[in-house]
């Protein structure tokens, strides 16, 4: 990371520390913390990190943006920062200016496909769209005759069936019933729904890795405080080894996510090697979320299973994030097909390509 990365990440860290204290949020039943937090993030230009200045964004680099997501993952915060960043990025692919306010993207699952009709309206259904009910706008990829389009849609023109994910964050079904977008442009050549899903997978990988870092910190701290059988539980070898495994899973997630983010930030073409980076990040971070969350809960015992304790803010979110933009099973099948199609002797050259 360069110093510039650190400044952006430090800004994000400071905002979360000041306005999104996990204990405070956990006890706040009416969500009064959300508006000031969002305002501060907006004032710092973070939601539009990936939008170039000519599209009314902050023009922060891809790498800096990923470092913000890692901070957001560590904070385990329920505001659509990642989603708005992703939407801004998507719109910028077609030089569409980003409006102010919360945004999200659709589709968010490889099972759903949106169609662009001949008259420029959009039809289809997108399930599991994060924060759709809070979003003012939805950035969309739709396919149609002549290729994919990117569109900015006013969320109020869609029919939204609200739902909740594992961590009680909004995960909604959005119906586009021949919706007329605010703006619609052709996607750049080669850009389609898959490109959005890959980027979404990368975003979630960063957040999961960040959440795992916090789980590890909580687990280590708690084990140094909690006394059982007349000693700190951190002194028991079984607990030490469990936390060492959690450190291993956290490391794997960090390495996979930061490698993929770095590869995308370098502007490399979307070839098999870049696909491997993104797919592997989502697969490995999701696997780490499962193993890591289980260990963190095991170390904290019953207290970690309460609403009262903040642990669930990270464990449930990391587990929920596995499902967005293609689950690990989805990406594993896609990656497996790619590896098989390339053939056995082309596997190692793919793995060793950078």
């Amino acid at each position: 990371m360069t110093d510039a990365d650190n400044i952006v990440a430090e800004t994000a860290e400071r905002i979360f520390a000041d306005l999104a204290d996990a204990q405070t949020i956990n006890h706040d039943k009416n969500g009064s913390w959300k508006a000031p937090l969002w305002q501060a993030l907006t004032d710092a230009g973070l939601p539009l990190s990936w939008v170039p200045e000519e599209c009314d964004g902050s023009g922060i680099s891809m790498a800096e943006g990923f470092s913000v997501l890692s901070v957001a993952g560590r904070a385990g915060v329920a505001v659509p920062l990642a989603e708005t960043m992703l939407a801004g990025w998507l719109l910028a692919q077609a030089q569409i200016k980003s409006p102010e306010g919360m945004m999200t993207v659709a589709p968010a699952s490889p099972r759903d496909h949106l169609m662009r009709n001949a008259d420029g309206t959009i039809t289809g259904r997108a399930r599991g769209v994060p924060f759709a009910k809070d979003a003012k706008y939805i950035a969309v990829v739709a396919s149609g005759i002549g290729g994919a389009s990117i569109a900015l849609v006013d969320a109020s023109t869609c029919r939204i069936e609200t739902g909740l994910g594992l961590a009680d964050d909004p995960s909604d079904t959005v119906h586009f019933d021949t919706v007329k977008p605010v703006t619609l442009q052709s996607a750049p050549s080669g850009f389609d729904q898959n490109a959005l899903l890959l980027m979404g997978a990368l975003v979630r990988s960063q957040q999961i890795a960040g959440a795992l870092e916090t789980m590890l910190g909580i687990g280590v701290n708690y084990s140094g405080e909690r006394v059982a059988f007349e000693k700190k539980i951190s002194k028991f070898q079984a607990v030490q080894h469990n936390l060492a495994k959690l450190a291993g899973e956290t490391s794997a997630a960090l390495a996979a996510a930061s490698s993929a983010a770095d590869a995308f930030s370098s502007g490399a073409p979307l070839d098999d090697a870049l696909f491997l980076e993104a797919a592997a990040a989502k697969i490995r971070c999701s696997e780490a979320a499962e193993k890591g969350a289980a260990i963190a809960h095991q170390v904290l015992g019953a207290i970690g299973f309460t609403q009262e304790h903040i642990l669930h803010r990270y464990t449930l979110r990391a587990l929920a994030w596995r499902d967005d933009f293609g689950s690990e099973s989805y990406w594993a099948v896609e990656l497996g097909k790619l590896v098989a199609a390339r053939g056995a002797d082309e596997l190692w050259p793919l793995v060793a390509s950078r």
Binding site: N221, H241, T250, S251, S259, G336, R354
Partner: protein, 386 residues
């Protein structure tokens, strides 16, 4: 945050790509000439002095060492490329691997100049084989309980006792071993062991091969009876081997050999399922490849940190912990995924044979060079738990 784990996204520099091509071309020539069969990993242990010399001639031994000792002053990342390409090809690296990875760097750091000038160039030429004398019949993971004794005598030391599970001792020219020179102290139970260079071709050493469950004879019992080691063969500070051991570990623990040992079964699985796998096979292969990719990124990251002069001991232990468990489980996962592969697949017999060997190899992978339990202890210490 309590623990700041770092795995920076290190990329192999451009000079590595040319090197990789050269290594692949060299290995292809060796395979074509019949030096080794990449589909017979069980032969990887067989001794091949001529191959070692040819690797040395290419400049691929002692790659990171100073030129005055025969080295090539290249980067750890370049060495990384050579190591992983050799490993993936199942090349017969046994004769030079330990010397190049571990023993040479110890000599560089602790041996007197005339010994460095004598031995290091020979390692670089692929002429000498090293073994490591750590475990004893009554001390394995508990390294600092070693009892084999070095007693002071005129001009040197007399060694009595035995080492065990010593890989390659039967073919080694030298061993770097720890021997007891003083009793441990109350304050420090690790005190009292000293590192020595042992010339295996001198009197007072008996090497007894031990058969492994794979049918191979990689490791040995080595018995010392009044074996004489000259004074100038003491490495580093007396009674202080424990201080010297820790920084070596990062080199030993994080390389590609820590997750690629059974890689060949994955390649063969991909061959067996063919270009259009069913969903079950595709998902299984996809997950394994994602895990492999992640481990390689972690391992390359540690190599990059070593190159930058850092000592990522905890990160290196994490790579070995995760990597060895993965390579241990890999043949079992491949076996499951291959359960419905057509018996007529062209490589069915090869896959079966490889799986048999890999499943037998698997148990040792989480024992050699630091057990899973020892590694997790080191990681826990790094987390501040101990």
């Amino acid at each position: 945050m309590t623990a700041a784990l770092r795995f920076d996204p290190i990329r192999l520099p451009p000079e590595c790509e040319q090197l990789r091509k050269e290594v692949r071309a060299f290995l292809a020539e060796e395979i074509a000439a019949g030096t080794f069969d990449p589909h017979k990993p069980q032969r990887e242990d067989s001794d091949n002095p001529e191959f070692s010399k040819r690797v040395g001639e290419r400049g691929w031994l002692g790659m990171t060492w100073p030129k005055k000792y025969g080295g090539h002053e290249r980067s750890f990342l370049e060495r990384y490329v050579v190591t992983e390409e050799m490993r993936v090809a199942n090349a017969p690296v046994r004769r030079f691997f330990v010397a190049d990875r571990q023993s040479g760097p110890v000599l560089l750091k602790y041996a007197p100049e005339h010994i460095k000038m004598d031995i290091l160039p020979r390692i670089c030429r692929g002429e000498v084989c090293f073994s490591i004398g750590m475990s004893e019949p009554n001390s394995g993971s508990d390294l600092f309980a070693a009892k084999t004794k070095a007693t002071k005598t005129d001009g040197g030391w007399l060694i009595n006792g035995s080492k065990i599970w010593t890989t390659s001792a039967h073919m080694a020219d030298y061993m770097i071993a720890i021997f007891r020179t003083s009793a441990p102290t109350k304050e420090n139970r690790r005190h009292g062991l000293t590192q020595f260079l042992v010339n295996m071709k001198t009197p007072g050493i008996t090497v007894n091969p031990i058969a492994q469950i794979t049918g191979q004879y990689e490791f040995n019992e080595v018995v010392f009876t009044d074996h004489f080691v000259p004074d100038d063969h003491m490495l580093g500070e007396i009674d202080s081997a424990w201080k010297q051991a820790t920084s070596e570990l990062a080199y030993e623990r994080s390389g590609p050999e820590r997750f690629l040992e059974t890689y060949y079964v994955l390649t063969e699985l991909v061959r067996a399922v063919g270009p259009k796998p069913d969903t079950r096979s595709a998902e299984g292969i996809g997950r394994l490849v994602a895990q492999l990719h992640t481990m390689r990124r972690m391992s390359v990251s540690v190599a990059g940190m070593l190159q930058a002069g850092k000592e990522p001991v905890v990160e290196a232990s994490i790579v070995k912990d995760i990597g060895t468990i993965w390579e241990q489980q890999l043949p079992h996962r491949v076996r499951e995924l291959a359960a419905f592969v057509d018996d007529n697949a062209s490589n069915h017999a090869t896959l079966d044979e490889m799986l048999g060997f890999a499943i037998k190899t698997a148990p040792k992978l989480t024992i050699q060079g630091g057990t899973t339990e020892v590694l997790r202890g080191i990681i826990a210490r790094g987390l501040g738990l101990r």
